[in-house]
């Protein structure tokens, strides 16, 4: 069973839910309070009843201070459980705002420690200083459990929709990410080359669009694979939706047995 974690302002949960449901993967909406306390007793849930947690896009709590900061802070209440959850090989994924939450809560970059107490990555305001919604090209640089079904170096088309997606980290962490093959997606042009703005839509360091932890079971990306689950959702004509294999990869991993 996959839990899709929602709170006030998350607003992409239906799209992710529908993607898993279309693939007949058991999936459930869970309000953050049902994990962290604050909901009625009979509504409380245990994260260990789930094999995976997906954090959807949106504007959790409005994202008025810093994208994902409040969601991250609330999620930290169950840091210990999350650490155990990841250690057991269960999966946690974040898309767009969900990626921002995972960096805020410290589950990414996940190099030496499963979870770090201070954020080591920032998804900062786009270089264009505005919200941008459009389709971009991504190159699948390395596989992780979320992208098993894509070919290495394959180029896919996926939409972005964010104002804060500029990937920034320290030189040391960047080197480690590269060394460990943790960089999963990079922004490229049609030919697959790193090409700067507008192909890199936000000014991310080294065109980084998505990364995983060292083990490959925690993953975050800014673009939205759930929005191209079906071919007819693409900007350009396609036979199969480029986002579909993202969900198939997750399901394949889960079926391997936790």
């Amino acid at each position: 069973m996959i839990a899709i974690l929602r709170m006030e302002g998350t607003n992409n949960e239906d799209d992710i839910y529908n993607a898993f449901a279309a693939l007949k993967c058991p999936v459930e909406m869970v309000h953050l309070k049902q994990f962290t306390g604050g909901a009625k007793k009979e509504l409380q849930k245990n994260i260990f009843d789930y094999e995976g947690i997906m954090i959807p896009g949106g504007f959790s709590a409005g994202d008025y201070i810093r994208a994902g900061a409040i969601f991250g802070a609330r999620l930290k209440k169950i840091s210990k459980e999350l650490k155990e959850f990841v250690k057991e090989g269960r999966i946690i994924g974040g898309i767009c705002n969900g990626f921002q939450v995972l960096t805020e809560v410290g589950l990414l970059p996940g190099i030496n420690d499963i979870i770090v107490s201070k954020p080591q990555i920032s998804l900062a305001v786009n270089d264009s200083a505005k919200f941008e919604c459009r389709h971009v090209f991504l190159k699948h640089e390395n596989k992780c459990f979320f992208t098993e079904k894509y070919e290495k170096s394959e180029i896919i088309q996926v939409p972005i929709a964010h104002a804060e997606g500029k990937f920034i980290t320290s030189k040391r962490i960047l080197e480690e990410l590269k060394e460990n093959n943790q960089i999963i997606f990079r922004y490229v042009n049609r030919a697959g080359n790193y090409a700067g703005y507008p192909f890199n839509p936000n000014g991310s360091m080294e065109n980084i669009a998505g990364i995983s932890n060292l083990e490959g079971n925690v993953f975050g990306m800014m673009p939205h694979p759930e929005r191209v689950f079906y071919p007819y959702l693409h900007q350009e004509k396609k036979k199969v939706g480029d986002g579909k294999r993202f969900f198939e990869s997750i399901i394949k991993y889960l079926r391997r047995g936790v």
Binding site: E132, R134, L233, Q235
Partner: protein, 754 residues
């Protein structure tokens, strides 16, 4: 706390009371109120006068427009009508189990005073109009009209904000609210004209989807029973948004900035988003008997309109949760604070609803109940402060205001042929033609994973304008809704009647170009001061044009809004009816887009291109204020619609001819396809500039060579004129017209357009 006010005074003083209370009622109306309280044998209290002021405002009551709307716009019969005109939004048949919901309204006055908050709360309000029908909002639309962006700062009238400031504020307001609530903003328009300098127009539309057995009315049906309770939920009530409706029912002036700031509400999308979850879950669980949003006129209008005509209500005002402590009762009663919804519930089901509220941290309180006597009674800490006949409140006076119609005088004059290349580039780069990507891409138009044809179409690195956007409302069904919003101020300025017909024609063209069939319309009618006969004349003529055209097509208006008083002592807006068109496509996978697809394909011009140059971008560019205006004929349009839909499966790209004419249409299609064309217009008998820049009702279609016979045959069968004008080819715009040749590179075209 409340003040008793004697109306036993002379007329001057009656008007003075209306002014001091800020309720904007005229003498005749004040007399009616005096007579009413005379029959009640007592003096009114301030809260009672306020309640009447809200209910009788132009904004809430449509007192100037109702008779004309009834004559032309309402009552177009169609089998898809489920619940139209009467409610906050129109409900239209979609398939066996589902209906779609449409609402369109203006937020003009607030946006002129406070662009960011005004536009944001416009989105907030229109979302509530859809949610209160029990529907899930699935798309937002926002046609915007601003003054000239290059207007000289030094010449700006006192108290007026510069169009650049207004534009950036309005767009940011829509972006920050719409993106946060997670409803895609997918269509609209941006138009500039100096007449919008002192009154920008910010129209907002929303489309929703609802299961037919979950449609909720705002009116309490006879199934309601005495003792059913009003649950107020969502945001708290504060001093923001006091007198929003009365301020929207008068002209703006230089004092508006200071005096009317508090009339603009403060939006909070992060209450709206969970509030929407709560409402829809309560509806899904069948817990709600009636639901209405709190908008113009606040609690006062909401409770009146819900209870009438079957019930009355008693409200305990002290139970309303407040943002600030020392609010006067009348302020609580009329405040238009955002993010509030009212539900009517069976007392036994309240806990089930409040449980949902608790999970989403949404505040609520029971504020009253319905009664069988048809009166509205408001108590405050044990004392009755309002007690009135509900009918008196909700049935305000209706006016047949005098109107004068200007006769249309058309004449054409000889002009010189222009330098073509330069003229084309100038038109492509003019503010009303050029790419609106800088607006569109700031809105999340993909959230919800249901946007099939995009607001910007074509290649990822070379995007162009669309005609309409197709949404797929249900995950398990390929049926889709095409959405387009249109107006045409430059034609409206010349003739409100023909302008209105052109708008109807164009919005249908936009829907049909995507492969969908027109199904319903909503209108937002933005006009000047209705107390002036010439403005009323414009309104009359426009409604006549819209209504006649829709009737001829057999497609109904299902929802709408009127916004008067869009004028100041400096400018009155061009009469601007905005029409939101909705179309149905049976299979979204068969939708058509505007970008050219393949080298070698044939290009056709569909329709009768005429020398109808008045109000065209071309004539405006050269300052020509003469010419004939396009006169759209619904029967001709019907043939074109039929022909295009019959050939849909072989059309590779389609785009309608509108602002800027044929050449702009072709350039836009080239940009999206990132490919050139080679055209020969010699067979059309007209001067080259008229062919290129006429805005007659036409389409441009791309067809594979192998399909041309079938295509031409179907056009002929439907009595549709067509010309084969060239091919998709190369990377230039190449036009031959007899001895003339015009050549522009794709790069030059893109540079001008983008």
């Amino acid at each position: 706390m409340t003040e008793e006010i004697s109306l036993n005074i002379n007329d001057n003083k009656l008007i003075e009371i209306s002014r001091v209370l800020g309720i904007g009622l005229n003498l005749e109306e004040m007399h009616k109120i005096r007579d009413y309280f005379y029959s009640e044998k007592r003096n009114p209290r301030d809260i009672e006068l306020q309640a009447v002021g809200q209910a009788w405002s132009e904004h809430c009551s449509y007192k100037s427009s109702k008779s004309i709307l009834k004559k032309f716009i309402f009552g177009i019969k169609a089998k898809q009508n489920l619940l139209v005109i009467e409610e906050d939004a129109g409900v239209v048949d979609f398939n066996k189990n589902y209906a779609y919901v449409v609402a369109l309204e203006s937020h003009n006055h607030p946006s002129a005073i406070e662009p960011y908050g005004g536009a944001a709360t416009g989105i907030g309000g229109i979302l509530r109009d859809v949610v209160c029908m029990g529907a899930k909002p699935i798309a937002l639309v926002d046609p915007l009209f601003f003054g000239d962006l290059n207007f000289d700062y030094k010449k700006l009238p006192k108290g007026v904000k510069h169009p650049k400031f207004i534009q950036s504020g309005v767009i940011a307001g829509i972006r920050d609210y719409g993106n946060r609530v997670g409803v895609p903003t997918i269509a609209g328009m941006v138009y500039y004209d100096v007449s919008y300098l002192t009154n920008c127009l910010v129209n907002v539309g929303c489309i929703g989807i609802v299961r037919k057995n979950r449609i909720i009315s705002s009116k309490i049906s006879k199934k309601g029973k005495k003792g059913d309770v009003f649950l107020l939920l969502g945001g708290r009530t504060g001093r923001d948004g006091i007198h929003g409706v009365t301020f929207a029912s008068a002209e703006l002036n230089e004092k508006s900035e200071k005096e009317d700031r508090s009339a603009v509400q403060v939006g909070n999308p992060i209450i709206k988003e969970p509030l929407t979850h709560v409402c829809l879950e309560a509806v899904e669980k069948n817990l709600v008997k009636a639901m209405k949003d709190l908008g113009g006129g606040g609690l006062s209008c909401c409770v009146d309109e819900m209870a009438y005509p079957n019930f009355g209500a008693v409200v305990n005002l002290e139970n309303v949760l407040l943002k600030e402590r020392d609010m006067k009762p009348w302020e609580i009663w009329v405040s238009e604070s955002q993010e509030r919804m009212m539900m009517l519930l069976d007392r036994k089901k309240v806990d089930k609803v409040t449980d949902i509220c608790d999970l989403w941290d949404i505040e609520y309180s029971i504020i009253g109940e319905i009664t069988e006597n048809k009166r509205i009674k408001v108590d405050y800490h044990g004392k009755t402060i309002l007690d009135m006949d509900i009918k008196f409140l909700v049935e305000p006076p209706v006016y047949n205001r005098p109107h004068t119609v200007k006769n249309l005088k058309e004449r054409e004059k000889e002009t010189k042929e222009p330098a073509y290349e330069k003229t084309i580039l100038k038109i492509l780069s003019s503010p009303n033609i050029r790419s609106k990507a800088f607006v569109i891409q700031q809105y999340d138009h993909e959230v919800g994973a249901r946007t099939i044809t995009k607001p910007l179409q074509g290649k990822i690195e070379s995007l162009t304008h669309s005609d309409s956007v197709i949404i797929k409302p249900l995950s398990k069904e390929y049926k889709g809704i095409a959405i387009a919003a249109d107006s045409n101020p430059s034609l409206m300025k010349i003739s409100p009647y023909w302008g209105a017909k052109y708008i109807m024609d164009e919005v249908c063209r936009n829907i049909v170009s995507s492969g969908a069939e027109p199904h319903s319309f909503a209108d937002c009618l933005n006009f000047g001061n209705p107390e002036k006969p010439e403005r009323m004349g414009e309104f009359y003529e426009a409604c006549k044009g819209l209504g006649e055209f829709a009737k001829a097509l057999g497609v109904p208006f299902v929802s709408g809004n009127v916004s008067f008083y869009n004028e100041s002592e400096y400018y009155s807006v061009i009469p601007t009816p905005v029409v939101l068109g909705l179309g149905i496509i049976d299979d979204i996978r068969k939708s058509i887009r505007t970008d050219f697809k393949r080298n070698g394909d044939l290009i056709y011009l569909i329709g009768d291109i005429k020398k109808e140059m008045a109000g065209s971008e071309y004539y405006k560019l050269y300052g020509y204020d003469f010419g004939y205006i396009p006169k759209c004929d619904p029967d001709e349009l019907k043939n074109k619609i039929k022909a295009i839909l019959e050939t849909k499966k072989i059309i590779k790209a389609c785009h309608d001819v509108s602002n800027g004419g044929l050449v702009v249409t072709v350039c836009e299609m080239m940009i999206g396809g990132n490919i050139g064309v080679s055209l020969d217009l010699s067979k059309i008998e007209m001067r080259t500039d008229y062919k290129l820049f006429s805005e007659s009702s036409c389409f441009v279609c791309e067809i594979r060579e192998r399909d041309f016979e079938e295509f031409e045959e179907i056009m002929k069968k439907n009595n549709v004129k067509f010309h084969r004008i060239g091919r998709v080819s190369g990377s230039r715009l190449k036009i031959i017209d007899k001895e003339k040749s015009i050549i522009l590179s794709l790069r030059e075209i893109k540079e001008a357009f983008l």
